[in-house]
């Protein structure tokens, strides 16, 4: 299997301060990988490099078989929209829209017709167990429901990869586990790889394997990719 997202020898410094000292990381289709490390270990920088929001000082980022980091900002942005999904700590849904309208966004922005986008959004919300709240605004649902909406938005366009940055950081343990379970199951089922960035071991235990970052270097990795063959994802 070939990686859907890969960082090779990534180095980055903010001014004279080195943050990443040569990191290799590859995500296979359908696998969930936890990126673990204490504050200041370089997790966020690595995430930004992989997402194409920052350019590495040296090293390469490959997305779905193509070199990603040297592309223009506009082309990187377009790739991000089509080939990546994002889940952040605080949901980040658009408050003026309903949950369903939020989930439709990645589809509408890439030219999918309204009726088709609506149907796919509702199907994804159903899969994540929040179909009953599809037509409510963000302020009308609980934190856990909103976060499952954010997961639906990240997955609805079937991207090869989802980057989830502390996706349960604002939730209590029980609610957080429901969100993680929904994320892991739905992503694995459709062959989307997930990079789960967290400083919490309990959250990391939902991943198939983990990569531990300390002082800008990978210091440990364990676990194995799921054995079940996953279906190929169209980019």
């Amino acid at each position: 299997m070939s990686a859907v997202l890969e960082g090779r020898g990534l180095r980055h410094a903010y001014g004279a301060t080195p943050v990443l000292g040569g990191v290799d990381l590859a995500l296979e289709p359908g696998e969930v990988v936890a990126l673990l490390g204490p504050s200041g270990s370089g997790k966020s920088t690595l995430l930004h490099l992989l997402a194409g929001l920052l350019r590495p000082d040296s090293g390469e980022v490959w997305l779905a078989g193509e070199r990603f980091d040297p592309l223009s900002e506009r082309r990187r942005s377009d790739r991000r929209l089509r080939q990546m999904g994002f889940v952040f700590q605080l949901g980040d849904l658009v408050p003026e829209l309903t949950i369903a309208e939020n989930v439709e966004l990645p589809l509408r922005l890439t030219g999918v017709r309204a009726a088709v986008a609506r149907a796919r959004a509702l199907a994804m919300l159903d899969r994540l167990g929040v179909a009953d709240h599809a037509h409510k605004r963000v302020s009308e649902v609980s934190g856990g429901q909103a976060q499952r909406g954010a997961v639906a938005r990240a997955l609805v366009h079937r991207p090869p990869v989802v980057l989830a940055d502390e996706p349960t950081g604002s939730l209590d343990t029980t609610t957080g586990e429901l969100v993680l379970e929904a994320l892991v199951d739905a992503a694995t089922a459709q062959g989307t790889a997930v990079l789960l960035v967290t400083h919490e071991m309990r959250v990391a235990s939902w991943a198939h394997r983990d990569v531990l970052l300390r002082d800008g270097r990978v210091v440990g990795a364990a676990g194995s990719a799921p054995e079940v063959a996953t279906t190929a994802v169209s980019a």
Binding site: P38, E181, M201, R202, S205, A207, D210, V219, A222, G223
Partner: protein
């Protein structure tokens, strides 16, 4: 202490015999440590001697007659008192703590001790997270319990890792 109290609690639910008590104990608390028949019968004999349970009859079973036990009023009091009293917090750190201190004293790489344990504990946590999704309600409760304890250990590992450089010399000094 737990086995006699567990049998009292099961008898509090209604009279029963050793064979049935063992089966129910294993289903609830046997996770990876099932009760041996010898222990069931010796415990029941002790409970009867101490007046906490008493034989109330005999039931025919596949392998012969089975003595049926019931909890006594003294047994109920004993069970209530045990449930009401707190289990003293553990206090003493685990062997992991001992190993880290000894590695520091012996001038061995304590960070490796921490890394090895982080690895092992995280692997175990992943196993439990996966297993918990399949098990029954008691398995899940037991899994939650172990995960919470692993989480505490892992948190300590992170704290100790972050402070190792600063405390190594001091730890050696304390042991002189």
């Amino acid at each position: 202490m737990t086995v006699p109290m567990a049998l009292l609690a099961l008898l509090d639910d209604g009279p029963s015999h050793g064979f049935d008590l063992k089966r129910r104990y294993d289903a609830l608390l046997g996770q990876d440590r099932e009760l041996k028949y010898g222990q069931v019968y010796s415990t029941l004999a002790r409970l009867e001697r101490d007046g906490l349970a008493s034989g109330v009859g005999v039931e025919a079973g596949a392998g012969g007659d089975r003595k049926v036990y019931a909890i006594t009023p003294a047994g109920v009091t004993e069970l209530d008192e045990w449930l009401a009293a707190p289990n003293p917090p553990g206090g003493r750190p685990s062997e992991l703590f001992t190993r880290v201190v000894l590695a520091l004293v012996a001038g061995r790489p304590a960070d490796q001790v921490l890394d090895t344990h982080r690895r092992a504990y995280l692997d175990r946590m992943r196993e439990l997270t996966a297993a918990r999704r399949g098990g029954d309600v008691v398995d899940r409760l037991a899994g939650d319990y172990e995960i919470a304890h692993l989480e505490a250990d892992l948190r300590w590992i992170e704290l100790a890792s972050a402070r190792l450089g600063a405390i190594a010399d001091e730890v050696r000094e304390v042991g002189r």
